[in-house]
Amino acid sequence: MLLLSLAWQSLRNRRVTTILTIFSIALSVALLLGVEALRVSARESFASTISGTDLIVGARGGGLQLLLYTVFRMGTATNNVRWDSYQDWSKHPAVAWTIPYSLGDSHRGFRVVGTNENFYKRYRFRNTGQVRFASGRAPQDFNETALGSDAAAKLGYPLGTKVTLTHGIGAAGIMDHDDKPFTVVGILDRTATPIDRSIYISLEGMTAIHVGWQGGAPPEPGEETPSSKLKKEDLKVEAITAFLLRAKSRIDTLRIQRDINNYLPEPLMAIIPGVAMGELWSTVKYAEIALEIVGGFVVLVGLLGMLVAIYTTLNERRREMAILRALGAGPAKILALFLIESLLLASTGCILGVAMMYAGIASLQGVVERQFGLYLRWQGFQPEHGIYVGLVLAASILIGLVPAWRAYRNTLADGLSVRV
């Protein structure tokens, strides 16, 4: 108790250094926990890119690839799903709903997604997040389109703009669907998911722009079918790229998955998004580890600051040590006094650091979500945080041992005399 009060008063006496030291430890702890929160948030944010979907179904191929082109709008499908097959499954008694995706076109680098009203009604992300419109409405006619918020922001198209889509993912101008322009009728709210980076049209729209493209190449000049000659009723959707599926009862998910994988009329594949996302995330594990290592080093730097702050006082405090020695404080007590000082600095720093992290997350949440599409969620004080803080304190004892040991040696050497 006496040592604690001595340590406290000694630190208070060196107010400026003490505050600076505590602040640097606090900053490093806040950074460590902040990085941890960022890591967890990134994983959660990633995992919740899609929710409420039990299965993703596409043509047989790679599961990861299917996940990438349906959820993350990356890569391309190699095969389609026939409309009949899709109908079979969407009307299956155990299936609650499906969302069809028809992919393959783009506009200035933004993927075009042909889908139907189910997408606007049923698609969920981050558990309850739903697709909403910032302005306008969902595309209904075959020549209408809605823009994801990133796409809208980058392209700067207001409602009513005429848009020409490009066949494939390449640059505009090579194989444009310029015979069938689309009109922007809606702009989606920001979701901070890949939804924001796409352009949405109806399935019929996707069919319409490919009328005459049956060979995979544009129709010969003069054989194009202008939009004016097309009627929605005439457009028959023959294939989609993939679809999302929700089972009526989640218990059926595995059974439906098996049945889809064994579907005889067409080779299909169904994947469970959570499982596939987990596999995908494990590939970026190295980035996570790197983040953790950086966080660890930041703390080390903070604690080295403490070491310097205490160590530099050692010489001017030799007199103090001699006095304590004369008063009957043994070298062990001197060692303890210095350790307590380190521990006081580190624990105050930890408390302040946790508080700073709370405040940081609370104040940066909005900005980070808007700017980076990363939903920073404060997970509450987790056991891991306790472990981290414990590790910081343990490290502070280890580092505090350096000046403490030096003071111990000084005390033994100096005895009651002081060479100042």
């Binding site: 006496n13 009957g328 062990a332 009651l416």
Partner: protein, 229 residues
């Protein structure tokens, strides 16, 4: 609280000390005795082993050879940590200067021994402060004090809880002559009142007549190398 079987506060016999076995002897004293409650002036110019002798008596250092009996305790037979505890509870120590912990106020500095050792009681702080004329300073920071005031606070700290032995290592050398005599009278009076033995080391021989006993370390210490100025 000197043991009743021991008639003296300090009794050194045939002690030898060197900081390492390979180094020459720093101290070689045949006999040094201080009676209980006695005040002793020890003449100690620099370089004659003064600091080392005080370290031995206070139990910070351990003699290579010989008997170090202080307040009835054979220090050679005590462990380091027991000597530390014993020193804190039995000895009041005054340094030449900078006696005080800079981050504690006057009161806390004086009370420090009582907080380190339960056997030293704090109740006489006001009496001691009054007799040393520092009552008004109790709540001041030590850095605001003059050197003379600091030494009186150091004396109060050495005397609190009535330790049976007070060691003063050149406590007056930083004071001017007027304060020196005054401080010394106060210290002597307080030690006498508390029944404490006082071992006072100084190179200033003009102070010697004020003490009951006068000794010269260069004479006692056969290992001393007289410093030729």
């Amino acid at each position: 609280m000197s043991s009743p079987t021991s008639p003296s506060s300090i009794a050194l016999a045939n002690i030898q000390f060197s900081y390492r076995p390979s180094l020459p002897l720093v101290l070689d004293i045949e006999s040094f005795v201080l009676g209980p409650g006695q005040s002793c002036f020890l003449y100690g110019p620099s370089g004659c082993g003064k600091t080392t002798l005080l370290g031995l008596i206070a139990g910070v250092l351990k003699a290579n050879k010989g008997e170090v009996n202080v307040l009835g305790q054979d220090l050679n037979k005590m462990s380091g940590s027991r000597r530390d505890a014993w020193r804190g509870s039995q000895i009041g120590y005054i340094f030449q200067m900078f006696n005080l912990i800079p981050y504690l106020n006057v009161r806390d500095n004086i009370l420090l021994p009582t907080r380190l050792h339960s056997s030293r009681k704090a109740e006489d702080i006001h009496k001691i402060a009054a007799s040393l004329g520092i009552t008004a300073l109790l709540d001041r920071g030590v850095l605001e004090l003059s050197v003379g005031q600091q030494q009186r606070v150091a004396a109060a700290r050495a005397l609190i809880g009535s330790p049976p032995l007070v060691i003063a290592d050149e406590p007056t050398s930083a004071l001017d002559s007027a304060h020196r005599e005054n401080f010394l009278q106060l210290l002597l009076a307080q030690c006498r009142a508390a029944g404490a033995a006082l071992l006072f080391v100084s190179h200033d021989q003009s102070l010697a007549p004020l003490f009951e006993k006068q000794l010269s370390l260069p004479d006692l210490n056969r290992a001393a190398k007289p410093e030729l100025v």
